[in-house]
Amino acid sequence: MSEAQTQTPAQIPVTVLTGYLGSGKTTLLNRILSESHGKRYAVIVNEFGEIGIDNDLIVESDEEIYEMNNGCVCCTVRGDLIRVVEGLMRRPGRFDAIVVETTGLADPAPVAQTFFMDEDVRSKTKLDAVVALVDAKHLPLRLKDSKEAEDQIAFADVVVLNKTDLVTPEELAAVEATVRAINPAAKIHRTERSGVELAEVLDRGAFDLSRALDNDPHFLEAHDDHHDHDGHDHHDHASAIHDVGVKSVSLRGGEMDPKKFFPWIEKITQMEGPNILRLKGIIAIKDDPDRYVLQGVHMIIEGDHQRPWKDGEKHESRLVFIGRDLDAERLRKSFEACQAA
């Protein structure tokens, strides 16, 4: 008799799908549920509504936002998700991944935070990516009348710019520039009828920064204007169609003094937490052979050693904040002050 193998149960990946009514979420969900991609998905929806597929693994759940009693205004979780995920995870083996569809007006933060703040959920699942569907035709209007549309884009790892057939090439370029202005770190896909490759939205590992970095070696660089010399101020992407309230602050520096950097990032996220929607970064720490990767949602931050710096690779620290009312100059100065002497 051999001893039973102790297996660490794998964490089930969770994709969060946001987007306004009419942005194409239901079409995309129907594709995820019906196309043959060799994976089974459990889908948590607010209403069965138009999902034309009868499937045991579609769960209806009333969006239930719970503020935590810890005095932190941005520490919110989705109570219903805790219960549904717990229920689903008691019968593993039925599905390979979970998709959470949010209502059109939903703030994505409580959904994402549930996967970091609730120990039970966190031990069994991991957030894979936040995907925002955007209706190319109606985005300008949406951005005018709501803060949520902007938040959804700001929060996303992947933006599916949908219904591109309904706008002119010029309009599309303007809409994409607006999305880019709100969130320079997201991957953008242009599609018609939610026709994005499912591999581009599912199983992305966007919250697994090491993987995100492997997938995109130019992560945090691609839209960094330090490389193009067009005289354009990257802290103030002009958008013709929208007065952007959310902005990103990209910081860049040399090796950091860990005694200064960690207290600093802690303090910044404590103080500015409500204004920070997302943060991502790669940090070079003095005398540390490994790259340190970092990411956050409001006040929650997580960091880990990723891999050794390669020979000849520049030991450089890069950090992006996406949020509201961020004082770019103060962030930059205090960040630079953390550099090792």
Binding site: D56, V59, D62, E64, M68, N70, G87, R91, E119
Partner: protein, 323 residues
């Protein structure tokens, strides 16, 4: 020496109970297994989410992913109610064979004659429990508890405390109501005057609560020891420290089940170990060595000799403490 009769099942055990002296094990896949002259199985739900004994301890009331509420014993099962495509997230049993169940933001009471009454709430019904006295039940919800009187059309009583309350229990004398919260704490109210009781300091969420004989103590999970709060005084545990029983360095308590007549608790841990610990002197007796996964449910039989236990990995069984 205690002995263990194992029953190895495939799946997460929601409830391990005795029905008429026969151990029953309800699994998340919707089957109820029993040890009645051999291992027998009854299929009840497509996905079983919650379970409770009825007050006569003769039937197991269960709620499922299939939106059904069932009552089962031995080879028979009866569908008591259906709530469409919504999950039944909580069930409770009350006096005169009344049961309550929750689906989304509604709680329902079904009387023994089949009449059903719906109670709508602005937020999700997280937990349900009947008071031991009178026809009254409590709903754990966001920011407190709502007490309903389903036999009359009286207005509900609201007990407020900020935060998400996820489970609820009444003391056996009906004087106190206690909730488990999303943030690693219990909250209690003395019903006579609405006085608050905060019971915090847990390193994990409390998922199991059990009243000792005559309600003198409330045992709870959520720590490396069973945390046992004194409820003998008229104001409950306020200003008093709880007992910490069966403390282990590297394991968390996941289930507590107090002995029916003595001040002893069976304590189940996240590694599958089960111990019995006496309140008076903290004396411990090992009942079951660690198994494959966390203990999820335990119940003593009426003879006070056996304990049925279930785990999240399906390695269930019956402990005979007399050996």
């Amino acid at each position: 020496m205690p002995t263990v009769a194992p029953l190895d099942l495939d799946g997460h055990c929601i409830a391990a109970v005795f029905l008429g002296g026969v151990p029953h094990f309800a699994l998340a896949d919707g089957t109820i297994h029993r040890l009645d002259h051999g291992h027998k199985t009854l299929a009840v739900h497509d996905g079983l989410l919650c379970a409770t004994l009825d007050q006569t301890k003769t039937r197991l009331i269960t709620g499922g992913e299939d939106g059904k509420v069932c009552a089962s014993a031995g080879e028979t099962t009866e569908v008591l109610a259906e709530a469409g495509r919504k999950w039944i997230s909580s069930v409770a049993s009350g006096p005169q064979a009344a049961i309550a169940y929750a689906a989304g933001r509604s709680a329902f009471v079904r009387f023994s004659d089949g009449r059903t009454k719906e109670f709508q709430h602005p937020r999700t019904v997280e937990g349900l429990a009947f008071s031991p006295k009178g026809m009254r039940f409590g709903v754990a919800r966001y920011n407190g508890v709502t007490l309903h009187f389903p036999a009359t059309d009286g207005k509900p009583t609201e007990l407020e405390w900020a935060g998400a309350h996820t489970a609820i229990t009444f003391s056996p004398d009906g004087n106190f109501v206690v909730t488990a919260m999303q943030e690693n704490a219990l909250h209690g109210w003395k019903l006579a005057d609405g006085k608050h009781m905060r019971m915090s300091g847990y390193p994990a969420k409390v998922k199991s609560m059990s009243w000792s004989v005559k309600g003198k103590w409330l045992a709870s999970s959520g720590a490396p020891a069973a945390i046992v709060w004194p409820f003998q005084a008229k104001d409950g545990p306020m200003g008093k420290a709880p007992l910490e029983l069966g403390t282990r360095g590297n394991s968390m308590v996941t289930v507590v089940a107090c002995h029916p007549s003595q001040e002893v608790a069976a304590i189940g841990y996240d590694d599958g170990m089960v111990m019995a610990v006496r309140f008076a002197d903290s004396k411990e007796v090992l009942l079951r060595r660690p198994g494959k996964g966390a203990v999820t449910s335990m119940m003593w039989d009426d003879e006070e000799r056996r304990i049925a236990f279930g785990t999240e990995t399906g390695d269930c069984g019956v402990i005979d403490i007399t050996g």
